[in-house]
Symmetry: C2
Subunit: 573 residues, 2 copies
């Protein structure tokens, strides 16, 4: 029934409902095995089936905001047979992907882009004189993002009609915050619905959008009826359709635990997670230091900060999926003597780049960026890898960049950060496994030597790379080549004192980051013309697809063997 592209348009209601059940089961089965986004996809089954029933894909274009909710669409567009490869290296992506199917017209991954993209597509349609429908599907969580507002402001400037569907399940990953969400709640409050609707429409009508709603979006019959109606309307006006769905619908555990089941990991490894250390350490610090404030953009639990938020409600704020705003808010706090900690995933920090440059660093305000999921983050693929942060941060004046080698060093960095007095970024991966012996006292800007050796110096940063470096050094030692291993725990500034004391001709750099602009580049520039032979191990100049962290690091040629082979070949006395 799911093979090929199911002929929905010739199914009756009973068959369509049966299809929904099969889709739901397929999603649950696959995500339980492979990991992925569960609750958000379960809530969208009926809405997606109704869309495929009423509209004509791929002629009509659909853009899924963020893309956490596109599994049903993938299953209905000829990818069911490969769906068991979901999120695996070389397999089906967990996000919309143009390279995968003509049914995916626009790739997403970061919040709030769908309306802008839909407007671009609609504008192109008019210029080219084509005729098709353009639909953006956006969750109520993404709806907080400023991009949506910017796009709304353009709707009436563009001479074309689009459909925006708000999939309102009252959740980002955590429950959605903010006034816009409260507004959505009011709109869908059943007992007031009819009386108030007329008045409330105005906020969207201001933007040239006609408002309509389906307040049980998991009722397939209602959904189809409404969409059929709207398809006609779209000839003359842009429409915003507010659909209330149940996150996790059809799988009781998910319905009751939508937050925990938003994203599911394939296997669970017991690990000393950095996020846990962040939460504990910051909470301890905040008890003693009234200046400490925690700021997040809709990821509080996965960043390890739920405990902090419970304990210090006045000194914590989740601003919703608004990364730029969070950075400026921190700058405002810091300008008044607070010490804000902005915890954010590496890939999403890209959205606050300008604000980190202008608001935080050009004002030289003391705050700490706690950058989680740095380096390769794995199965979410291109739009979620954190391989650029060392590059886009190292170019910013006044910013110190720290990369702890393990959770203990991370804790020490956090403890030192409150009195650091300048902007600081600490970047770390999700999982922490290994605790190294600390070889010396900790000072900001100073590296440490973890191993001595005269033939080659390995300069590495971060737990993953230091682990590989130490193992490669041991492997090389077995072949008679002795390497020093240096923990470059600050990528900026470089520890020029230690660099100037490196006597070996051969130098290797290792980092969980793109080569361009990262640790290796900085060291290349430092030594340029100094007669050293330098080999940089880092990621090449390409976007990194989905796969496991281990697979991907190896794919890019960074392993104990590749590093030790290089050392043995080049640095042998």
């Amino acid at each position: 029934m799911l093979d090929g592209i199911p002929d929905l348009k010739n199914m009756n209601e009973e068959q369509l409902n049966a299809l929904c059940d099969r889709l739901r089961n397929k999603i649950i089965d696959t995500v339980m095995k492979n990991g992925g986004h569960l609750s958000s996809n379960l809530g969208m089954v009926e809405l997606t089936v109704a869309l495929h029933y009423v509209f004509d894909f791929p002629k009509d274009k659909i853009i899924f905001d963020v893309g956490h909710q596109c599994y049903t669409h993938k299953l209905l567009s000829g990818r069911a047979d490969r769906f068991d490869t979901l999120r695996k290296l070389g397999g089906i992506s967990g996000f919309p992907k143009r390279e995968e199917s003509e049914y995916d017209c626009y790739n997403t991954g970061h919040a709030g882009t769908s309306v802008s993209a839909a407007l671009g597509i609609a504008m192109a349609k008019e210029i080219r004189g084509k005729d098709f429908n353009v639909i953006a599907v956006i969750g109520d969580g993404s709806f907080n993002n400023g991009l949506v507002y910017e796009a709304f402001n353009s709707v009436s400037e563009i001479n074309s009609k689009i459909l925006i569907i708000i999939n309102d399940n009252h959740m980002s990953i955590t429950p959605t915050v903010g006034s816009m969400h409260e507004y959505l709640e009011t709109l869908s409050a059943e007992n007031e619905q009819r009386a108030k609707k007329k008045r409330h429409e105005t906020i969207f009508e201001r933007f040239g959008l006609s408002y309509d709603g389906v307040y049980d979006g998991n009722d397939l019959h209602c959904m189809i009826e409404k969409l059929t109606d709207i398809k006609q309307k779209l000839r003359t006006q842009s429409v915003i359709l507010h659909v209330v769905t149940k996150k996790g619908k059809g799988y009781l555990y998910c319905e009751e635990n939508p937050q925990e089941t938003h994203g599911i990991s394939a296997g669970r490894v017991k690990s000393a997670e950095y996020s846990e250390v962040l939460g504990k350490t910051l909470t301890d610090m905040a008890e003693r230091d009234g200046r400490i404030v925690a700021v997040t953009a809709a990821m509080t639990p996965s960043l390890g900060l739920s405990g902090f938020f419970e304990k210090f409600p006045e000194r914590s704020i989740d601003v919703g999926i608004c990364e730029s705003h969070a950075a400026v808010l921190c700058a405002g706090l810091a300008s008044q003597g607070m010490r804000p900690y902005y915890a954010v995933y590496s890939t999403f920090l890209q959205r606050a780049f300008d604000q980190v440059v202008v608001d935080v660093c050009s004002q030289n305000l003391p705050m700490t960026l706690c950058i989680d999921r740095a380096g390769i983050s794995g199965s979410d693929g291109e739009t979620h890898q954190g391989e650029f942060d060392l590059s886009f941060l190292s170019l910013i004046p006044n910013l110190t960049i720290a990369v702890p080698k393990d959770v203990d060093e991370f804790k020490a960095m956090l403890e030192g950060s409150a009195d650091f007095g300048m902007p600081l970024a600490i970047r770390y991966p999700k999982d922490g496994f290994r605790t190294f012996e600390n070889c010396g006292a900790f000072a900001f800007g100073k590296w440490e030597k973890l191993r001595e050796g005269e033939d080659c110096a390995i300069i590495a940063c971060g737990e993953r790379m230091i682990s590989l470096a130490m193992a490669a050094a041991r492997a090389a030692a077995n072949e008679g080549v002795e390497c020093s291993v240096i923990n470059a725990r600050f990528v900026k500034p470089l520890d020029e004192d230690m660099l100037s004391r490196i006597s070996s001709r051969h130098i290797i750099t290792m980092e969980d980051n793109a080569l361009i602009g990262g640790l290796g580049s900085l060291i290349d520039s430092y030594f340029c013309g100094g007669g050293k032979v330098i080999k940089n191990f880092a990621y090449p100049d390409e976007f990194i697809p989905h796969g496991s962290v281990k697979e991907l690091i190896a794919k890019y040629g960074i392993s104990i063997k590749t590093v030790s082979d290089y050392i043995i070949e080049h640095a042998h006395r």
Copy 2:
């Protein structure tokens, strides 16, 4: 009367009105000599005087969004005696500057940050148990930016009250676009005012803000009365005060030409501006090629695109000050076969960093970023310099970065860009003076040699640096040292073919960009371990203040003399 800090609170209305006249004259006199923002500041005189009369600065905190309207505030806070140094190297900044006065609590320069910053400051106030008022002043142009919406969504989450003043002069730099601005117009339409106000309040009340308005913000008496009122209100509620002012008020030429007099240049130099070439070339191309679309974020005339917009209304759009949205819109257009050209100032492109990475480059969509005011831009200072773009762009996979050596090469690059088929960035400064002789056929990714010489190779990019490089090479030749000069017209990819053929041991790089992550870094990495001696001329790791372009380039050690001295000292046979 303007010396020191005038004692406004003891002035009567007549004296205050006389003060407004003096302030207005001082602003006109200074801007006519030094350049600066004229019309926006003239409109704000009464509002600022009223704010200083009613509130208690610096105890109360005021944040000026963008900061184009802070001159009166500067004149009233002890900086009148130094005001003739406005925008000069070492003088008074044209923007709020904490380093300059305790009356400036938060530096601005990019749009939309004031409400977020105000919320941060207010949150800090509550945590510290202090008592003062927090005021954000934002123009209707900035009000389009998504950051404002993100901040609005937080107003009710923060347990503090703030005042947001919309200074509505119906203009960004050009007339303000978008639905939100239309909404503001409706609110202030006098004949409907009383009847409609009640209903229209809701849009702001949704965000926990009480709406009030002064529809002649240049009437000092009304302003003082209203602000006195609101100061009381602020004890219990956050307020949005909609003030309509006349841009250019009090100077007839400005009132009639607010667009032309938004920013005034100190001296006018006849120059072949890049923006002019952009406009002309793109218009010509668009006549032949129906795929070409122009997108701007509120800067159409200064980017040279007014003519294009007039000629091709269906293929052009100004989205307002929404740099992120503009980039995604372009990606949407490109996904449907269009060839969008997004023209934007270098410093403002920082705001679309994530969208350039994710939406444009990770999808590998063919579009062209036309990056104006790249490199040092001069008198606007830290928040407007364009010294980072080569760094934050070179780390992005799939992106080609072009830097024309003159306007002719710029034209050729533009003409080649429509069929380039991948994301392309072209960066250039404001003024173009010199046309070099073209030494060879033009091909994407290929450099050209402008001068031969065996002792040293100078690799430079962009008109400013190539001019200096050629002059330095001639100066060195006079001392018997022969340099080649290479036009690195593509910073990415590097022309490895030409690099591999450089025979001289000494290499110099020159760029109008920060050292970290720029052309020099890429060349350092390329040659690392290759036995070359490389010297990088670029800007150091610090924010560049205001001053003239020429002064600033020299301040950072890049001049004919420094470069030729280095060559003569190091590369002499």
